[in-house]
């Protein structure tokens, strides 16, 4: 089997969360070192609070303040913390039922004495972060509270109103992948490195896929036969881009075209240059222009040949 290409792929984005009234109160409360829950229709206190009753589906808004100490209801040891987790050294993930609450909150427990020091039923207390912004990380983690006893009694009602409430937060999400384009695309990319374009022909419909996918999506059979296409091709349709796309260093206006390389069964997409943008037309004959180190052609330029007749490319738009 050919060596298949792989590369790291990172997907990350700072998502915005608008919180709504209940989570706004909860997170603003954390900023003020106050932990809020909500009273459900059956009297249970839910922490973190939800906006809708988990049993009746009714809107619930009766906030209460619960304790900052609680009991571990279950736990799992994390011996190798990853980027972005609450603590950099080994810790326990814990579900903590805070005093006055009927549900448990997921967080980290700093247990410097290791997993043998963690037990279900152990007492823990909130360790507040030094700098608090109105986020779950305002609780830096929990820490053991030996010899502590649970607080009895009902939690006290809380209006949930604070000065300068937090109404939204930014949740930075990041996913790390190892991406592989697969065997067919690896063959295609290796040929591109020699400035040659190789598609694969479907044994049934005889269409040539560029780039190849390893299979024909119409016939559902593997494509094995490699076919070199181009290098010249025809602009089958296009648009003139007048606004700069984010992260692209191309002067506008420019032409974004569908280009059917000679011999290919469908068009690929690329930039058409080397001709004033307002002179680009359907049927224009073009060839690739490579730049040093580029994996793909930088753009396509006119070959000077007469335009292709519409009949020759109307199936390749």
């Amino acid at each position: 089997m050919d060596d298949v290409l792989t590369a790291p792929m990172v997907v990350e984005f700072p998502f915005t969360r608008s919180l709504g009234p209940v989570l706004s109160a909860f997170l603003t409360g954390l900023r003020e070192r106050t932990v809020l829950g909500v009273t459900a229709a059956d009297g249970r206190v839910v922490v973190p609070p939800t906006e809708y009753d988990p049993v009746t589906a009714e809107e619930i808004r009766d906030l209460v303040e619960v304790g900052q100490r609680g009991t571990v209801t279950t736990w799992a040891w994390n011996g190798a913390p990853r980027r972005g987790q609450p603590l950099a050294h080994p810790f326990a993930w814990v579900l903590v039922r805070l005093d006055g609450a009927d549900t448990a909150l997921l967080h980290a427990l700093d247990a410097p004495e290791g997993p043998d020091s963690v037990t279900t039923g152990m007492r823990v207390r909130v360790r507040w972060a030094q700098e608090r912004t109105g986020a779950i990380t305002d609780i830096a983690c929990f820490e053991p509270a030996p010899h502590d006893t649970p607080l009895r009694g009902r939690p006290t009602s809380h209006p949930g109103t604070f000065a300068e409430p937090v109404t939204s937060l930014v949740a930075a999400a990041r996913l790390d992948y190892t991406y592989s384009p697969g065997r067919a695309q690896t063959r295609y990319l290796n040929a591109l490195a020699e400035h040659r374009t190789k598609g694969e022909r479907c044994p049934e419909c005889r269409k040539v896929y560029v780039p190849p996918r390893g299979a024909c999506p119409t016939c559902g059979v593997a494509t094995g036969e490699q076919v070199e296409v181009g290098p010249a091709g025809t602009v089958t349709t296009f648009c003139v881009v007048n606004i700069k796309a984010k992260g692209l260093d191309i002067e506008v206006p420019y032409v974004y075209g569908h280009i059917a390389l000679d011999g290919a069964g469908l068009a690929l997409h690329g930039r058409v240059a080397g001709i004033p943008y307002d002179q680009v037309r359907m049927g224009l004959r073009v060839e690739p222009v490579w730049t040093e180190g580029g994996r793909h052609p930088d753009h396509y330029r006119p070959t000077g040949e007469p335009d292709a007749a519409y009949e020759t490319y109307k199936e390749l738009l």
Binding site: F13, F15, S18, V22, T167, Y209, T218, T237, A245, G270
Partner: protein
């Protein structure tokens, strides 16, 4: 006790499906006052109020939205179960890109038609302000050439191909945008309310992706849409006129394949033909009174008019130009203002289905098409990969 000769359930054939509740949010660029849960709740509650039902009357919930990257909440349906009263009930999530609002409604409808459930709440949403849809659709995949053209650049070459193929004059797109934006003024839930819109303003708006102008593109919206679907017995008890489903279908095809017709995709025409066959429609232009179709860029109106069989090939633009698709024309298209005026992506397809239902229920308010008895709801997405459509009518199906 079942006998192979006798179908189980309450009768032979499919159970008729009725839309008895429709709810939507006022669509805006950013709903900063609510969480995702608060947003979907608003639409669901309005649909239940329309049907005069409570959470307890709902047997199952079917929810849809576009890619999770659009908000960055993975599998949001898990967290939305409380808000939708789905605890202890079956809950399904559907995803078919931009067509998802339509396919979600069809999955819900099929549960009723198959007599799996009697009353189903279906809902679709998008809160685009939490992320950036263009980012979500153009992740930097290694080794691939980045999309060089931005959001409209994917669609504009297909529009040029349509214009070339049909010799359509350049002003047709502006006519569609001008119509849909004026229709939106009659729809209190529409996102864009451009009170001072003129044809001249549309025509002189910046050319972003030639041949597509700024005013011919859809906005980015936060919004949700919900419907309550029920069986014949449920419809008999409902306080307001129901809309009856007479046909529904989905089709898909790859986004790119050799021989694809991006101007008039086969999946779209096959899907429409299936819906018309189910509904007994042979002349869609004459027999259908209103259409809510997924038009994210104005030129897609004439393109879909041909794809859906309302106009002969090459004649979609003449139909638009003649005024036939205006609110007072003989086939009003997007009386609600359509996707061009409101686009919470995941909800956009369900809005088309729901607005079609409102038309035949006679409950569309200021954008009501006089005497509408049959209406088509149409959705598509994923670079013309997925299509879903339904036909609803004021009268129940006869068979």
């Amino acid at each position: 006790m079942s006998n192979s000769e006798v179908p189980s359930g309450r009768g032979r054939g499919k159970e008729p499906v009725a839309v008895v509740g429709v709810g939507q949010t006022k669509h805006v660029a950013a709903r900063r006052d609510v969480s995702l849960a608060g947003l979907v709740r608003e639409a669901a509650r309005r649909a239940l109020e329309d049907a005069e039902l409570t959470w307890g009357d709902v047997d199952a919930v079917v929810i849809g939205k576009a890619p999770d990257f659009f908000e960055g909440v993975m599998m949001p349906e898990l967290y939305l179960a409380d808000a939708l009263g789905a605890v202890g009930k079956p809950m399904l999530r559907v995803h078919t890109a931009g067509s998802v609002g339509g396919s979600t409604a069809l999955v819900a409808a099929n549960l009723v038609a198959a007599r799996v459930h009697r009353t189903v709440l279906t809902l679709a949403f998008e809160k685009q302000s939490e992320s950036n849809a263009m980012w979500g659709l153009s992740l930097p995949v290694p080794f691939q050439q980045p999309l060089l053209a931005g959001a409209g650049g994917f669609f504009a070459p297909h529009v040029r191909a349509y214009m070339h193929r049909t010799s359509a004059p350049g002003h047709i797109g502006a006519l569609v945008a001008y119509k849909d934006r004026r229709n939106a003024l009659k729809n209190p839930y529409a996102h864009l309310h451009e009170e001072d819109i003129t044809l001249e303003k549309v025509r002189s708006s910046p050319m972003l992706w030639d041949p597509v102008r700024y005013s011919e593109t859809c906005p980015s919206s936060d919004g949700a849409c919900a419907m309550v679907l029920t069986d014949r017995a449920g419809a008999a008890r409902t306080p307001r006129p129901p809309a009856w489903m007479h046909g529904g279908a989905m089709r898909s095809e790859p986004t790119l394949f050799a021989g694809k017709d991006a101007v008039s995709p086969r999946a779209g025409s096959d899907c429409a033909a299936d819906v018309y066959r189910q509904a007994g429609i042979t002349e869609p232009r004459r027999e259908i009174d209103a259409v809510e179709m997924y038009v994210p860029f104005s030129w897609y109106e004439p393109m879909w008019l041909e794809n859906l069989g309302f106009a002969k090939e090459g004649q979609g633009w003449t139909m638009t130009e003649s005024g036939a698709t205006e609110l007072d024309g003989d086939l009003p298209v997007n009386p609600s203002g359509g996707v061009l005026s409101t686009n919470p992506i995941g909800a956009s397809g369900m809005l088309r289905f729901a607005e079609a239902a409102l038309q035949v229920r006679g409950l569309a308010g200021a954008h009501q098409v006089e005497g509408a008895r049959r209406a088509l709801g149409h959705a598509y997405g994923g670079g013309s990969q997925f299509f879903s459509m339904w036909l609803v009518a004021a009268d129940p199906p006869t068979s």
